[in-house]
Each structure stands twice: as C-alpha cells, then as structure tokens.
Amino acid sequence: MATQTSGPALEEGATGGLTLDDRVALLKYMLLMRGIEQRAMTLYRQGKVPGSFYDGFGQEAVSVGAAFAMAPEDRLCILHRDLGAHLIRGVTPARIFGQYMGRAGGVTGGRDGNVHFGDWRVGCVGMVSMLPDMMLVATGMAMAFKLQGRAHAEGRGGSGRCAITWFGDGSTSRGDFHEAMNWAGVQKLPIVFVLENNQYAYSTPLHAQFAVDPVERAAAYGFPGLTVDGNDAEAMFAATWEARERAVAGGGPTLIEAVTMRMHGHAAHDDMKYVPKSQLEEWRAKDPIERQEARLRELGVDVEAVHEEVKREIEAGVQEALQMPMPDPATATDGLFAEHANELQDGQAPYSGWRSRP
C-alpha cells in the first residue's frame, strides 16, 4: 500500500522547514499563477490569444508546492497545468503573456503556444504535447546527473542534483509512463515524479484509465509512492522536499500522487458537462489558495497586500507583453538546427533553505 500523508506543515527552522516568508511566497506564486491564467482567459476571449487555452485553476498548490522544493541546480520538465513551477524558476509574467499571445518576446518567440514552453535558461525543457513523453526526458536528466557524479549530495559540496517532472492521471496509461518509471527504478535515479491526479483526463474519468490507483505501481518499480493532498501547497512542498532529499542521498526515485481537481474545462472550449456539479462544489471548498490564505491570516500576514502586489505584477506583465511585436515572418524557418549546443542553466529557487546552504 502506498503511504498516505496528510502533509503537516514543517517546523520552521528545521532543514526542509518553511519560514514565514516561504509560506507567503507559496501563496504569492499561487496567486500569480491563478491571476495570470485568469487574465489570459480574458485576453483569449478578446481574441488576443490564438489557438486554445489551458489552465490549472484549482491545482495551483501542486506545481507551486513541488517546484518550491527544488534547488537552483535541479532540472524540471513542467506540464500543462503547472504554470506555478515556471514562475518559481523565474519566468516573468510578461514573457508568459507574450507566450500566450504568440509574441516575439514570449518564451518561445511564437514558435509554440500556450503552456507548451520551458525556458532552458532556468533549467527547464518545454513539454511536447505527447503525454507523458517528458517523463523520459526527466529520467534521462537524472541518469546524466548520476553519470556525471553530480547526483548525490556527497558529490559536490552538498549540492546533489535532482530532476522533477509532472504528469496527469490520464498520462499514466501510456507506455512512456512505464518505461520511465521502470528505468528510474532499475537505475535508482535522483528523480521526483509528481502524478497530478485531477480526477479527469479531458473528459475521461479515472476508472476508464486504471483499475487501481497508479500510486500503487511505485512499489512494483522498486520505490516509494505516496499520496499527498494536492490542494495543500505546504504538504506538496514537504513531500517533494523529502523525496528530493532521498534522491540526492542516493535513495532513488519517489512517486508523489497529488490528489486535486481540475476546476476548469480541459481547455477553453470545454464546458465540462461530464463533471457532476456536486464534485465541483466539494472541491471548491478545498481551494488551495484559500487554504493558504487562512493559514497566513492566522499568523497575522496581510494577505490583501500580497493580493495587491500580485495584481500589480500581473498588470505590468500584461502591459509589457502587449507592447511586444509579433514575430517576423521572415524568421519562420530559422533555427531548425543548432550551430552550437547549449545546456540547461540554473534557475531561480526562492525557498529560503537554498540560501542557507554552505
């Protein structure tokens, strides 16, 4: 049986603990994610976002909590409901809005759309649509860390490297899920797999994807699987932080099942008729942002100030993005092939724990 964790907040001050600033940061990134996606939806309705639009409304704690646990030198493959992870790594709202609108200044300069991006300058490989291909890419990064002798904490002044990737409940049905899980298990790689169980894959409910919760598979691949409240950013942080610790200590992979709910349609056009009203209501009560706000209010934090700050950042981002030109059609066939190799770079890692490292 997989372990169930209810995810108590960690003690402040302890390694892996959260300071008050950290806890506020978790809220801030969730608010940023939600705010950006909501604002983008407006832009979409105004016809400023081409193609279709996907968001992660209701799932903010999953990407924010997990990515918050990752070090600057860690590497990430971020999926389509995980905008928070990009924000934590340091991708600015303006570049994200530019991305959505297909502008030259967007993360991919208009080559790819909506959430199909990733900034290699902050340690991320942009996802492909084919789910969950990125699980193998992340597994390969972890494999390389081991080959390079940079996987383990002993390796380089305490800074072991870890890979992390997210994927959905539906994505667990595809072969690449298996090849990645098995590979990581056989080679005992430093990687964290975050299974984002948001109850649906497009319209398909869980029971049509699997007979048994896939968190139970982890043991059969030789590593731990645990179920975490995916609407609790601090629980997500704690579980990921522990998994990362084990990984860089040579303990191998962890599968974290983040139980959450996709509160919006699969994409902008989806009216979600297939979701029972009661299910939505039940989950609305568990909103991850409200949960974090309640915590912080109790600790005396001025939550409204955080809201204001986030609002300003978003509006500034939108304005900046709206100034970005569309890409030049004359560049449409440039850069298919690289002249020189580049390599993923370290990203931002706002967690206080990384600043106190030796």
Binding site: P50, G51, G102, R103, T108, G109, G110, R111, D112, G113, N114, H116, V128, S129, M130, L131, G170, S171, S173, R174, G175, A201, Y202, S203, T204, A208, Q209, F210, Y274, M326, P327, D328, P329, A330, T331, A332, T333, L336
Partner: protein, 321 residues
C-alpha cells in the same frame, strides 16, 4: 441528398455504417461521453452504447494494437486519434503489426484509423501536422484524404469496408469551412483521384485542404485554363490519373501542406519525372511547407503553410515557362 459540412459528413458516414454493420465499433480518447474533441461522435454513445463507442485509456499504441486484435476476430474497429499528431505514439503497431500482417501471414487486418490533421488555426507544432507520407512509406497501409463533404463520407465508408488497414486523414481546417451535397444512406467512394476542375494549360495536384487552396489560387489566373486534380487517395496512388493530367496539361504544380521533404508531393513529382517526362513542358513545381515544425503564432504559421498567393505565384511562373 442533404447539405452537410465536412465534419457532419464524417459523422454521418460513421453513423450510417454503424447502423449497417454491427461489427463496426469506435475506439478513442473522449469519443464517448464527450463526443470527441471535435464532436464527430457527438450523440453516438446514446445511440450505440459504450461498447461500440469506447472511451479508451490515453494510449495510442494500445488503441491501434487492440484494434488489430479485434479486427482479426471479426470486428471492424474505427480508431480515432484525438489529433493526427498523436499517431507517432501508435506508430509501431501501425507500421509493423497492422501493415505487415497480411503480406507475411495472409491474415487481413480490417481497421480504420481516423486522423484529424492539418494546420491553419494556431494549433502549434503538435496539433497541426500532416503525417501521411510516413505511412505511404510503410507498405501495407492504405491512405486516403478527402477534400469534400461527399468524399469525406464515401471514403470513410470505403475505408471501413476495405479489408485492409486504412488511414483516413480528415483535415481539421475543413471541418466546418466546407459544405456540400452528400448522398443519404451508405455509399463508398473509390480510392482514386478526382478531377476537381477541368483545364488544359496547367494542372495543380493536391489533396485535403490544399485542394481548396489550389482551386482558389487558380480560379482566375489571367485567363489560363487550370486543371485541379484532387488525389483523394495516396495509397493506392492513382498513377493513371496523374499521368493523364500530365499528358493533358504538360505543366504541373504539386501542393502539399506537409513538410516538403519526402512528402506525398515528392512521390508524385518523382512519378511524373520518371513516367511522364516526355509529356512535360517545364519543371515539376512543388509548393509545400518548408521543413520546420508548424509554428504557433499566426504570422509564422502563415509564413510556412502554402497560401493561395504562393500557389498562384508558382502557377504564374510555370505558365510563363
């Protein structure tokens, strides 16, 4: 006869054939309760039940592989890829199991795979591809690609009735843009080319959405009489019709929405250069998407996909040759 969109014609073809043949059933992601990402199977689960309109796990290799298994024990599966792009994930089952079993073992594999393909609406690199040429280079698979509502229905029913694996490319950009008269009930369209417009000065050869681009580009071309050949079937390729058009027109422009290298159009051009050489009066001109992923942003996407203007320009130049 009823007037239908291209999309409605596909739905109608499926529905009629399911009514006519109880061995036919549908498999795909979100095709049942949701009615499909493009709503092609909207309402089907109510009429035919969840056994015949099966919401599968997210697993394209699984969809193709299990369809093969079902087909050899008497069923007639019709698989939907949510987007043609995802066929890459079922590629192996398709080319190695579905494609080669009849030749190797004498066992027919009557499956149909529906592939919503093509770009033009900011779908980006993974929702805009036209991968048909991969399968032209994989012996044992038939490949069809309708451009009109009528053919959409007739080729689909023909594909389902064909005792071989048939890849049916339905162009997403035609779904709601194209309308036409479509016969009621069931009928099949042969896997041959169709003359979309008669003409004798030059022939534009295309399939799928590009047939419409070709028609528009040559509608009024300084008075030239331009033939448009809708290939309609890529495997088998209607070599006789192609060579006949070369003989009639002597000048040929081939349009592909797919990436240029090794595309269907390359095969057509190679065929003409070998078997129609003596009839040629000018180079075999190609208009295709350059070899890059299909970019998302409209100015970039428009820069790479063959446009009415590019096709018109190519025809003009060749006419002046």
């Amino acid at each position: 006869m009823s007037v239908m969109t291209y999309l409605q014609a596909i739905s109608d073809g499926l529905r009629q054939e399911m009514r006519a043949d109880e061995r036919v059933f549908l498999m795909g992601e979100d095709i049942g309760v949701f009615g499909g990402a493009f709503k092609v199977t909207d309402g089907f689960i109510e009429e035919f039940g969840s056994g015949r309109v099966m919401d599968t796990p997210l697993a394209e290799s699984g969809i193709i592989g299990t369809a093969v298994g079902a087909s050899v024990v008497g069923m007639r599966p019709v698989c939907e890829m949510q987007f043609a792009d995802f066929i890459s994930c079922g590629f192996d089952q398709l080319v190695n199991v579905a494609g080669k079993t009849r030749y190797r073992m004498g066992l027919a594999v009557p499956i149909t795979v529906r592939l919503p393909s093509g770009g033009g609406f900011s779908g980006g690199p993974f929702h805009s591809q036209n991968p048909e040429a991969w399968f032209m280079h994989a012996p044992g698979l038939k490949v069809v690609a309708p451009s009109t509502a009528e053919d959409a229905k007739g080729l689909l029913i023909g594909a389902i009735r064909d005792p071989n694996p048939v890849l049916y490319f339905e162009h997403k950009h035609l779904y709601r843009r194209i309308k036409g008269e479509v016969a009621d009930g069931t009928f099949t369209t042969p896997f041959t080319a169709r003359v979309a417009r008669e003409g004798e000065d030059l022939c534009v050869m295309a399939y799928g959405a590009m047939v419409h681009t070709a028609l528009e580009a040559t509608e009024d071309l300084d008075g030239a009489s331009v033939r448009v050949l809708d290939l309609r079937s890529l495997v088998p390729l209607d070599e006789a019709a192609i060579l006949d058009s070369v003989q009639r027109c002597s000048k040929v422009v081939i349009v592909d929405e797919a990436n240029a290298t090794c595309a269907a159009g390359a095969q057509v051009a190679a065929l003409i250069a070998e078997k129609g050489f003596e009839d040629l009066d000018g180079p075999v001109v190609r208009v295709a998407t350059p070899d890059v992923p299909i970019p998302f942003s409209p100015p970039l996407e428009q820069a790479v996909l063959p446009s009415v203007d590019r096709v018109r320009e190519a025809c003009r130049e060749l006419l002046e040759y």
